[in-house]
Symmetry: C2
Subunit: 255 residues, 2 copies
DNA sequence: CGATTGATTGAGTCGGCTCAAGATTGGTGG
DNA sequence: CCACCAATCTTGAGCCGACTCAATCAATCG
């Protein structure tokens, strides 16, 4: 279990600071935002496709969540995966009606911030406004990479790419550091994220194990050979738009 | 052929007004923005993946453009299609380095607006800021729908869905009205957008024709049976977020 | 006019799906 | 502590949608 911060919103602030410069005044303004705390169980909804958009914005304090849409024939597509520090509902809140659902994937804690309070703080501090806008743009960049992932890559590449993204983002978020990281999804969910069936995900993961790229236990994954997994998954971290802090040794090689 | 407005930026203003309320002062401020006019040929780049993000923002005045990314094995994924009135480069400009390319698909006219000028106008007029932010969120919503499209639907559904989206958006943009609309893409590009090969797109289109859903000539498509095509393509226009201009909780407030 | 790009057609192949049956695992209550 | 149940994971066999590889036809344009 992740360590609980004395200030629940600090993971969010930390994340925003990685891409945008924030003064201590601005940091304090964010940390002082009002919020309502809630604990969620796996499957609990933060927003529902088709319903009126909520008038608050949720920040993930611990645990994992995902966005998803359901197609007409009933199949589910997972659109993104979220973790500690991620801002979840600005996407839906500023539009009239939610175009996708947001659900907890694990037990999770969230802070609901009244939308108006967040907008007021952004209005008072241009740097915060920029930081939030940039955060939304990075989300959009990740969506674009996922279109490429499901549209152009084969099963092995898709699964490898997803593994790399979750691992890298956990590292960036300070959730874990070494080659081991938390794998919050079932194979079914992994399939829904990659546009594959769970059966095929299973077989693909087995092959990755056999080839010495990863090792899995129930709740976590060990990446045995990150450079090779990145290459296999055609993964380049550029789309995550993490600042210049990126270590060149972690960057992969896409021509 | 679209009528050239005396004020080149008016298609953009028109589009923003469909989702956000703008006063005449704000409208005038947008129309008075400085810009540099340019004519592009098919294939010309507005931004290149991997290059430093441009310091201007492009507005499409006429013609069509698309966003794309190239995968490691050289295949291209088209991420979105754009038409008259669309704001193109805010996505890339506010981040350090472009994560995708933007190219003209047809002969096209664009207005390059200096980024700072646009940001200044947004800073001075909260409603414009909201409108631009909402525009970016709608783009993100379309990305999400495309993930669902390539991830969960079969070839016939994907192509039908794409046809519906282009047709509906052209109608919303006032480019055409009846069942006929402009089809700006080659079958190759259609394939890259849908995650299919051009060969399979060809066969899929033929079947749609044979089934009486569409009729095609070189540069345009006639949708013979829109309701049925929408049903075939599992298309619901909700994700385009048209007609949200009355979102009371959003319009009045914003930093 | 060739030359080039885009559309069309055919035949053969395969990656990932479907369907169906077990094997593990984790949680629950007696 | 064990029995039981519900998810989840695993494995096998067969099939099909979409791809690949080629060749041909049609349109556009210097």
């Amino acid at each position: 279990m992740p360590v609980m911060h004395s200030l629940p919103l600090s993971p969010m602030v930390q994340k925003l600071k990685q891409r945008s410069k924030l003064s201590s005044t601005e940091t304090d303004a964010l940390l002082a935002l009002p919020y309502r705390f809630a604990s969620l169980a796996p499957g609990d909804y933060l927003a529902r496709e088709g319903e009126k958009a909520p008038d608050h914005c949720a920040v993930l304090i611990s645990g994992y969540a995902h966005r998803s849409k359901i197609s007409g024939n009933g199949s589910r597509q997972i659109l993104s995966v979220h973790m500690r520090g991620d801002v979840l509902d600005l996407e839906n809140s500023l539009l009239e009606v939610a175009d996708h659902s947001v659900q907890a994937m694990t037990y999770a804690d969230v802070a609901y911030i009244p939308l108006q309070a967040l907008l007021d703080v952004a209005g008072a501090h241009p740097a915060i406004d920029t930081a939030l806008r940039r955060d939304a743009l990075v989300d959009a960049s990740i969506f674009r990479e996922w279109i490429l992932n499901v549209g152009q890559r084969n099963a092995r590449q898709r699964v490898s790419h997803l593994l790399c993204e979750i691992a890298l983002r956990q590292k960036d978020a300070g959730i874990c550091d070494g080659p081991d990281f938390i794998w919050p999804m079932t194979q079914e969910q992994c399939g829904d994220a990659a546009g594959l069936t769970s059966v095929h995900v299973n077989r693909t993961l087995q092959r990755l194990k056999k080839d010495g790229l990863i090792a899995m236990s129930r709740q976590s994954v060990t990446i045995a050979d990150l450079p090779r997994l990145q290459q296999e998954g055609d993964f380049s971290r550029a789309y995550l738009h993490q600042g210049a802090a990126a270590c060149s040794s972690c960057t992969s090689s896409r021509p």
